[in-house]
Symmetry: D4
Subunit: 251 residues, 8 copies
């Protein structure tokens, strides 16, 4: 990148002023460009955090993204705002539980047998689990859901444990005491992304309890994202999943 610009300066095909402009903007900085390119190659959409933005603002950002032909992923978007967007882009998909609106170019979708496991403790954590699941799907990964398998009825987890073990990576969502990731982490040998939720009451302190539990897990292979951050866990999981898939696809 940088070499090209310098060569053009050397050969005179680029004036110093023009070169300065290019080097001064991030568009042309080596690291930024690479970053930008790779993400596109991976079929990653540009992500919009919908909370606190008006439907008009969201629409105008989408217009900009679509004009470049890129995929779109909007998180934390209410149904009311989503309907406004769907009016313009009826080909988009909206998931009400996950509060996610997205569109992806089907030609980019890679067929694969490997999958991400989304494991969820209780039905009240569903919203966060679905934010993770839909995000992962919107980012192009296969997903399998294992819901309502919390530690208070640990036997339910064992029905599914082999299928969870065969995943590339697990996202484990839990509120209240947040013990599920520790148990899963002790049973699988792939990376586990733990998501504490704010579900609970009293000394739960809006998810603090589950967050501390997960950070202190004595099982190896667990890392943690912010409270209720299903999107963040899924984004991480897909990055890992793609690393693993690269190998498989090359087989």
């Amino acid at each position: 990148m940088l070499e090209d610009i310098l060569k053009q300066v050397q050969t005179g095909s680029l004036s110093i002023e023009e070169a300065k402009g290019k080097l001064a903007t991030y568009e042309n900085l080596g690291f930024a460009k690479v970053d930008h390119h790779r993400k596109k190659r991976q079929g990653f959409p540009e992500v919009i955090y919908g909370e606190g933005k008006t439907k008009e603002q969201i629409l105008s950002i989408i217009n900009a993204i679509r004009s470049k032909g890129n995929n779109v992923l909007v998180t934390r978007i209410t149904e009311d705002k989503a309907l406004h967007i769907l009016n313009e882009y009826p080909e988009f998909t909206y998931n009400e539980i996950a509060q996610i609106l997205f569109w992806k170019d089907k030609k980019q979708v890679v067929e694969s047998e490997s999958y991400i496991a989304i494991v969820c403790a209780g039905t009240s954590d569903l919203k966060v689990a679905e934010e993770a699941a839909i995000t992962a799907e919107a980012l192009g990964a296969n997903v399998r859901r294992f819901y309502d398998v919390g530690v208070a009825g640990i036997h339910r987890l064992f029905d599914s444990i082999e299928e969870i073990q065969n995943a590339t990576v697990s996202v484990v969502v839990a509120g209240m005491e947040g013990a599920l990731p520790s148990v899963v982490g002790g049973l699988v040998n792939h990376p586990v992304l733990a998501v504490p939720t704010s579900v609970g009451y009293g000394a739960n302190f809006n998810g603090l309890s589950a967050l501390l539990t997960m950070l202190n897990s004595c099982a190896s292979g667990i890392s943690v994202v912010n409270i209720d951050n299903g999107f963040g866990a899924a984004y991480n999981a897909v990055l890992i999943h793609q690393l693993a898939q690269k190998g498989e696809n090359q087989k």
Copy 2:
């Protein structure tokens, strides 16, 4: 109690001044006396919290207790202090890991097949688990130990689960993320006393993490005591155990 005093007043065998004295001191208050008597009947020792007391102070309290023929239980007592006491009372038993010194009248010990399960997550929680186990034994209960069965290797718990299920009550000790009581609570149908320990580092915050986990447990039948309070959990467990045993023994 009260009736006796009033009768003696009525019959003149007690002057008003004497009656006032009796009613004014707790020694004669109905609730206190009953309390005092019941505890003795159960063979409960008087408990001394050893931390912050000199060996001379502990010895003089023990002398007072022994002079009434009562059992003795000293918790949080260092080996150095214990040796000082053992010099006077060689018949006492000292447990170094639990830091407990005790003596109980063997004639009071009741034979029983029922037992309290002391379940412990990791070897580093041993000290607290032993404080619970020795306390329960000193208070006259049978105890079975299930150690190093933390959730990171949940299969180890399942080897012992039937034996744990058959206990009258469980004391479950765990540090770090403190998830073990939730798992045990989901597998047994007797009361579970959860003891968070201060074992761990970083965001463990000296046991706060495990404490919050246990308070927020989504399994039913769990109650919690203070961080590292093995004694408190065992004391509770023995109260419950005696309620259960009363029936069995009457069979």
Copy 3:
């Protein structure tokens, strides 16, 4: 359980595929089955946490439970949702203060003179105390209520202290400074389940103050449940109560 399956395999009355299926589902796992059976024998209903569920969801879960002839207990259910259920099941009982809806098979109710004491500091803690009382009753226990006996007017507690002492187990509910369980714990010799409430203001921090008070109680025999968790305390109390009753009934 396990033995039965293996025998059937041995004698050929069960194919390996069938045996694998049975062993692979929790329905057939030793510990789960026992658990399930015992709870039924004790007349325990299946408990539904009503908060965050729609009335339709609650109804369909109830339908499933009732179809097996089991008892029902729904906690944290608003009057509006309860009326919806009562329309279908007019034989159910709804308690508005406790926000509990339940039904139990009267044939399972065991006559007994022993009872659980529900002790409550102030009138503003009533809601949590009633959640405990109604839960205990729905689970089949006798209950006696001792309300408005907080430590600021400690003499009121002494009017009732003998009756509290004669209970099998106490549930003590308190907000603000949460000192009542310590006082009760010093006067009784049975287990005390302490419930901190979020009642109070300022440095109460939504029940944290009362929670810490109870965890640090210097009286023995006290264990603690989550803030406002009247249900959890009652569930614990009934487990203890049944252990005690077993003996009595066998007399």
Copy 4:
């Protein structure tokens, strides 16, 4: 004060420069002077906080105070430092438990029958209670001690309750759950100064538990000082005690 200066300016006995100097220094500011005078009239010593000061520093401050004939009170002073001072001032009194060194002019001591009650929950809170008691005595008040009357054995409190009720003001010291001030506050009708101590472990969080308990007390007439601040509570109590005594002495 101010008037005097202005009059001297008016009459020319004070130059403007001199007047400016006087008004510019706090020594001559109305509020400061009055403050200074009243404290002396009350026989209040100047207080030195000993922690973090060398014995040489403490001695030189004492020399300055004594050179004006004032009383002396040094808090948080170790025995080693105190001995250094006692070498110079053998007439001083040192209390090892309270870690207080003081001297007061006996001619200033006022005879009185009224007293301050120092009430203390457990023996481990003794150090703080003694800091309060010795401070109050050094400040010229009568003190009666009521120790080891914590809520876990509430009957012990009732033996002394009448004598506590007859005090002018109470200082109530408690660690662990800190419930004692609430109970005392409900039984007396004079002001109660509550002192949380850092005694305890686990979820006591170095006195936070007791502090929150006392701030949230549902009994009226209680105010709180910092954790372990026996001196502060006693200073407050003596201010209140003197207000009450003024009336009595004028009878």
Copy 5:
């Protein structure tokens, strides 16, 4: 009290059953009766905490109090509820800012020149300051208000400092950084009751900031009540004020 009962038993004018009944209820317990009597003699109303009670509940409590001829003080009562009460008791006084409704027997009011100083940092702390001021007045004390004298414009405080110094006791109300009690405490030589308010934003944490400031004050003679607890500070102040007045009135 107790003596009377015993005498009646001795002389046979009271049966043992009747005596037991009397001794078993707090009405006849020595400490409770004295307490009850003294409060009445001081003209103290019975206090009702209005928050969380319906207007019907409040009215029925008031009816009970008034039927015994006692004074009434209702705190934290909204205008809507107050109007409901005023309909029945038009002679009551309602203060909208303080949210207090009260009535006192004018014959009990004692004339006095001494007063309580209510000092307030900012206009946004007014509500809490008025709760304190109206409470003190309802409890029979003279009050002088010193409002909007926060430390950010310390000169305003100095205009009033002499008048504050001449009070018997000060209640100092402050939110945000809560520094005012320290400054006042350094300028007066009577007791200071500090009230932190929840006024502020960000790292104020609902009054925690001001609370910690006041607990850590380096000025002597300051004690603290709960956040926003104007009532508690005033109740304390009146107890102190009455101790001081007793003397003055006897002059």
Copy 6:
């Protein structure tokens, strides 16, 4: 696994008692065995947490591991303890800064050009960074270190950014404000494991500050481990790294 046992039962080569024994121990549970096997195939050592264990305990655990021919990794082991082990096993490697002792079978080491980037903010975070680096190397991964590239001199990071971008996965270690992972996360498109350290003072609160920063990162692709948990981050990183390598090696 399970099928084998059942078949042996069916054919009579295994008695029911023997089958029960096998199914009852975790050694034979499907998920456990697989887990165990996979870890061995990957050349993962068994990890010993050295803190709180005596050198004799550590040695005896190592003896057991080595007797099965497995690799060894001991974390948080002081030099003194390590020397004791090295006496027996001179072929082991000890790293003093990381406080890690390990041994790995060189035949298992896989040659690879891919690497894990260990990025570290300040020299005072070195200890944690080295725990991560040595752990990763002991687990068989290539590692490249990028130290002292904290955000206060962000230009230093840019010198190495391309090399960091080309890693498979990054472990980013930072204390104080903990901002480095956010910056790195915005510049790379692989997973970032963030490790907060307890380095700092004052409002750092032993790493809480850095921990919260990392959890709240607005950059995607970041997950967090416990404070100072360099081992945990590296373990995670190696799991991810192996997923990626599998593909490459198969090329």
Copy 7:
């Protein structure tokens, strides 16, 4: 000031009573007057904190300020209240995003080339950034805005870094992890005022995360104001800016 009063006393043109009055009110205190005068000379408006005040209260304060001809700045004022004021003072300016209403005398505005940089991490922090920007402008300073340059896309910051470096002082606003001030602080050599915002969710804890990050910044030259306190940062920045400008203007 003081000298004048004393001289008048000396010459008899001021009575002692009058002098006392003057010296007793802050209007005449040396430090207050100077303060008052300087602020006016700098063209500083009197600031009104609009939150919690009615529109009528705000209007009456404005009337008082305008009657003395002073500038006006109202912060945290809703559009509804602002319209009420604008009805009376149509020459005022209202900024809806910053929720600021102000008026300044244009004759006082000083022309200058130097400026304050307002740097802002994300669009959701805009409200706080604009409160800072509009405040600074209302106080008479030039401002340049650098928005949406958060650390997750650090390259965007570098486009503007030279222009930020040339400012006199920077106000840096950031929510979530709050890392931006550290990065800016490492790139500029003028003072940086950091403003944490409450933007974020989960473990953000209403801005605590960003606040701690900024306090722990390892870059020199950074100081911090309260969460969301854009006004406070701007006020500080303008004080610094004026110090710098004084020199420039004197050139």
Copy 8:
């Protein structure tokens, strides 16, 4: 900077490889170079944080700095380490209270009448105040100290207030309740840098109390640095002071 490199490429005096090298290292990045130069022009030393570094490490860093002729400032350096350095560099100055070692080129010192005020609440905050004072002097500023002027004796502050008002900028250091910056901030019209200290006990929570007080100050013009960070406050103050001095020197 950038332009120069591009011109050299254009004219062929720099190869593309050389240009890439230059642009790739921070040494040549525009912003970094400028930064570096400006700091030198201001006579700023390079600062070494001494805590956690060995005396050998510190010495070798100093050697590197001195070899370029730069000034040196080492903070948090114990006397023992300092003596080691002074052996090599006897011309350095060590301040034991501030624990600072420094050297500055006297030729760079600028004569000036303006000064920074270092204001300190209590003698126990001295260490932090001196860290600030010596740092400011080492960085080339005049400093005036105003110590022991805490709010509990506010009159002492007024003796010095005019001299504090005439400073360019104030650093105000306070522990315990931390109220001093608010009071000073209300009396001066220049920027105030507030430094909370960890001095205090109980609910001081290692400086948290003072930190929150300062962040919530209702006085304008105050910003805050980390607990005990005297160096940080002084560094900030000197940046502001130099901005102000530039003007004065140009007069």
